[in-house]
């Protein structure tokens, strides 16, 4: 049942993306030199589309999420472009970014309690947020908006004036989501939103997020280490490894027919109710200060070929069907990027030995932060 506005199928939607990421790099300074946690990423998210970002810890998925909303620690470097609804975020002023966050783009984190002020009533959080972004809204109107958003998340109107500690963990996450959507953003970035929750509450929260993006046409980027969550709630999945997307495409295709050896390894090592045998990916993700030459996965790859240590593969269409022809942005194909397609960056597939267009310019600028 994939009735979300995906890019695949018989009637590809050609709406403009809510988020258009091109050649994004996010780097941190370290004593040993720059560490590019996100190292050249192209990704587009359509209205109402849900994209899962998966990978092991340290693959860069959280840095990508933070890069998307430009919420990075001081000293972090960002290259490339993130357009939100046509507006460039990279290099935007702090005040413009503050306006964008909340208005157009919202974040949901793993631990809601760190984002809620224990000394403020839940309703006050809403009133403050709403009036900061919509100065014309009266307190009463804001209170009313809070009640509506909270009720939508299953928080009774009798409790809107309670304090955060009076709620359970699941309720707090519902409050965070209500707070994120009260201004009707176009994109929600949820970073492991259910990792701290039990499986039943997790399922409740995922249902809420899924309903939201379908009913309100919000784009959803769901960052998670749990492939089950992606399979159940996302239209597309982007598998990240060592700061890059190594495989991307419709969830149905990638789970049924994963192309990249890393994706295959991740799927095989997932313990599900059907697991009868344990599988692992040997080794560990590489040191991103000095990534291995060629394909970054080659030291751990069960299918490694001699040239894998020399050629750094790019994403190339791998689907047998014509699904990859369904791009939404005119010119996307000229740029060698077909957003809805099943693609993998692996030399097992023809075309993966091409050059990295978005990044070559960056490389010329140098790696320094």
């Amino acid at each position: 049942m994939s009735d979300g506005p995906t890019f695949v199928g018989d009637t590809p939607t050609r709406t403009a993306p809510v988020a258009d990421i091109r050649g994004l790099r996010v780097g941190y300074r370290t004593p040993r030199g720059p560490l590019w946690a996100v190292d050249g990423i192209d990704l587009q998210i359509a209205p109402g589309e849900s994209v899962g970002l998966v990978g092991e810890s340290g693959c860069g998925k959280s840095s990508l999420g933070r890069g998307l909303v430009q919420l990075l620690p001081p000293g972090a470097g960002v290259r490339g472009s993130v357009e939100l609804d046509g507006e460039e975020l990279v290099g935007a002023s702090a005040s413009a970014l503050r306006r964008k966050r909340g208005d157009d783009i919202a974040l949901v984190f793993q631990e809601p309690m760190t984002r809620l002020d224990p000394l403020m009533k839940v309703s006050s959080h809403f009133i403050e947020t709403i009036r900061a972004h919509r100065p014309g809204v009266s307190k009463d109107e804001a209170h009313h908006m809070a009640r509506t958003a909270l009720a939508q998340m299953g928080i009774p109107p009798t409790r809107v004036d309670d304090y955060p500690h009076e709620f359970s963990g699941g309720m707090r996450q519902r409050i965070m989501i209500a707070l994120a959507i009260v201004l009707q953003p176009k994109l929600i970035v949820a970073d492991e939103p259910t990792t701290a929750l039990d499986v039943i509450v997790e399922s409740q929260i995922l249902d809420i997020l899924d309903r939201l993006r379908r009913d309100e046409s919000v784009g959803l980027v769901l960052i998670t280490h749990n492939l089950g969550i992606v399979a159940e709630t996302c239209d597309r999945v982007a598998v990240m490894y060592a700061g890059r997307i190594v495989e991307v495409g419709p969830v149905e295709e990638i789970f049924r027919d994963p192309k990249h050896p890393y994706t295959r390894g991740l799927l095989a090592s997932t313990i599900s109710l059907e697991t009868t045998e344990l599988h692992t990916i040997e080794g560990y993700p590489p040191d991103l200060i000095d990534p291995p030459p060629g394909c970054r996965f080659n030291p751990r790859c069960p299918d490694r070929m001699p040239h894998c240590t020399q050629i750094d593969p790019v994403l190339t269409p791998v689907a047998a069907t014509g699904a990859h022809q369904a791009g939404f942005a005119p010119g996307a194909h000229q740029a060698g990027f077909a957003p809805g397609a099943h693609q993998a960056a692996c030399l097992l597939y023809p075309g993966a030995d091409g050059s990295r267009p978005a990044e070559s310019a960056e490389r010329a600028e140098g790696d320094s932060l």
Partner: protein, 454 residues
């Protein structure tokens, strides 16, 4: 206390062997000081509240539940890492509960606990050689430092840290998360125990590493003849690893028995809900019907009356133990789903919920419009989001409020259903003899008559 019924929970060969561990009516309550709760004077968090099961040699018994289910406290109580407040834990026939810590000492060598958080069991100031070898010194199992180092190096090899010697002088912070968890296992097994309680040993690890540690645990179990109690919130891991499983809810088993039977054909609505909720890595199974319970696991300080799961249960009915606070919750849930005018009108009738007087089998709303509220409740009660109203015996209109009385429901006892033990009234109403509340004795007796197992 009655003699516990046969505690096999399964019809397998396990019953013919002698259990290594026999747990009977085990309870671990934590007193709460300065509490103002009305129900009796014995305010306590009832973390473990009457659990009975056996663990057989060589078996992996899983304790599965959400946070707050009592699984960690139960696991720790088995080894007396927390002091049980009732019941017994027999290890090789000897009850550990009354033993002093001094008497426990010689047994500790045989009983191991693997902690979830490696930092809790590895002293960061000790080298790996010292830290992992520490139990050897405590139990006087080695006579020299070099003997200890040899034993540690050998154990490190066993847990997959090669070469063992190269780790001896490193510190825990020098190794990765997966390796750290191996160290924790090495430390737990260095005294060659027979019985190991492992509390979420892989929960903090990446999927790709998790499988390796589980594999290691199974390997060590075979090689060293171990018996495990494995504590987890992850049903998929439990299914893979455990021979039998107990599903804990608020300190008691909802259902327990043979793993395959539980997973193939769950008999308790809570087990079914847990299974339904697991996200499956299979897009073809998207949008399948899930019987998701409402809300979250409540406070173990005041567990719900009757069946502890009833307020969340998607199939609860009149006998399940509905009580005053359930009606308040049902009203609140209803109000998340009505327009603002309806909410204001109904709230006006009911009055401030904070002023409602909530008792076990009664709730009183100090309403300004009592007859209007009573009429509304009688008409709309059945349409509330839970089946709380099915247990309402009486809606009484007073001059300054409305009193709603409930038929008490007994707490279900465990009964044998399809080869496992289940505590649920759906299989015939039963009465748990030590239930926290079975309500009115007459009602309990009448509930006991048909379909009762006692």
């Amino acid at each position: 206390m009655t003699e516990p019924s046969p505690i096999s929970g399964t019809g397998t060969a396990a019953t013919t062997r002698t259990p290594l561990i026999e747990v009977r009516d085990l309870a671990t309550h934590f007193p709460v000081r300065g509490s103002l709760f009305g129900r009796g004077s014995s305010a306590a968090v009832r973390a473990v509240d009457g659990v009975s099961f056996d663990v057989y040699p060589g078996e992996v018994f899983g304790l599965v539940g959400e946070s707050g289910s009592g699984k960690t406290t139960l696991g720790r109580s088995l080894l007396k890492l927390v002091e049980p407040t009732g019941g017994s834990v027999r290890y090789k026939g000897r009850d550990l509960v009354p033993l002093s810590e001094r008497d426990m000492r010689p047994l500790r060598r045989e009983l191991a606990f693997v902690f979830q958080d490696p930092n809790a069991s590895l002293n960061p100031a000790m080298t790996i050689g010292q830290g992992v070898g520490h139990p050897l010194r405590i139990h006087g199992l080695v006579s020299s430092r070099s003997e200890a180092r040899t034993a540690v190096a050998e154990m490190l090899e066993r847990v997959g840290l090669h070469p063992g010697e190269s780790f001896l002088d490193k510190y825990p912070e020098d190794v990765s998360g997966g390796q750290k968890q191996r160290l924790v296992i090495a430390r737990a097994l260095i005294t060659r125990p027979t019985f190991v309680v492992a509390d979420e040993p892989v929960a903090a690890l990446d999927m790709s590493v998790r499988a390796k540690v589980l594999e290691l645990m199974l390997e060590l179990k075979r090689e060293l003849d171990l018996t495990y109690v494995f504590i987890t919130h992850d049903l998929a891991t439990a299914r893979f690893l455990c021979d039998r499983i107990g599903i804990l809810y608020l300190g008691r088993f909802a259902e327990w028995g043979d793993t395959e039977r539980l997973f193939d054909d769950p008999q308790h609505p809570y087990t079914r809900a847990l299974l339904d909720a697991i996200p499956l890595p299979d897009p073809d199974r998207r949008g399948r019907d899930k019987s998701l319970p409402r809300g979250e696991i409540p406070d173990a300080l005041q567990p719900p009356l009757g069946c502890r799961f009833h307020p969340r249960c998607p199939v609860a009915f009149a006998d399940c133990g509905w009580e005053g606070r359930d009606l308040v919750d049902a009203l609140e849930e209803r109000w998340t789903d009505v327009d603002e005018d309806t909410f204001e009108r109904e709230l006006g009738m009911v009055g401030n919920l904070g002023d409602a007087v909530v008792g076990d089998d009664v709730v009183r709303f100090p309403s300004a419009a009592p007859s209007e509220l009573a009429a509304w409740l009688r008409a709309e009660g059945e349409r509330l989001p839970t089946s709380v109203f099915s247990a309402v015996e009486d809606v009484e209109t007073g001059s300054d409020g409305v009193t709603v009385r409930f038929r008490p429901g007994p707490e279900p006892d465990e009964q044998q259903v399809a080869g496992r033990r289940v505590a649920c009234h759906l299989h015939g109403v039963t009465v748990r003899p030590d239930g926290t509340h079975v309500g009115d004795p007459a009602a309990a007796a009448s509930a006991e008559a048909p379909g009762s197992q006692r």
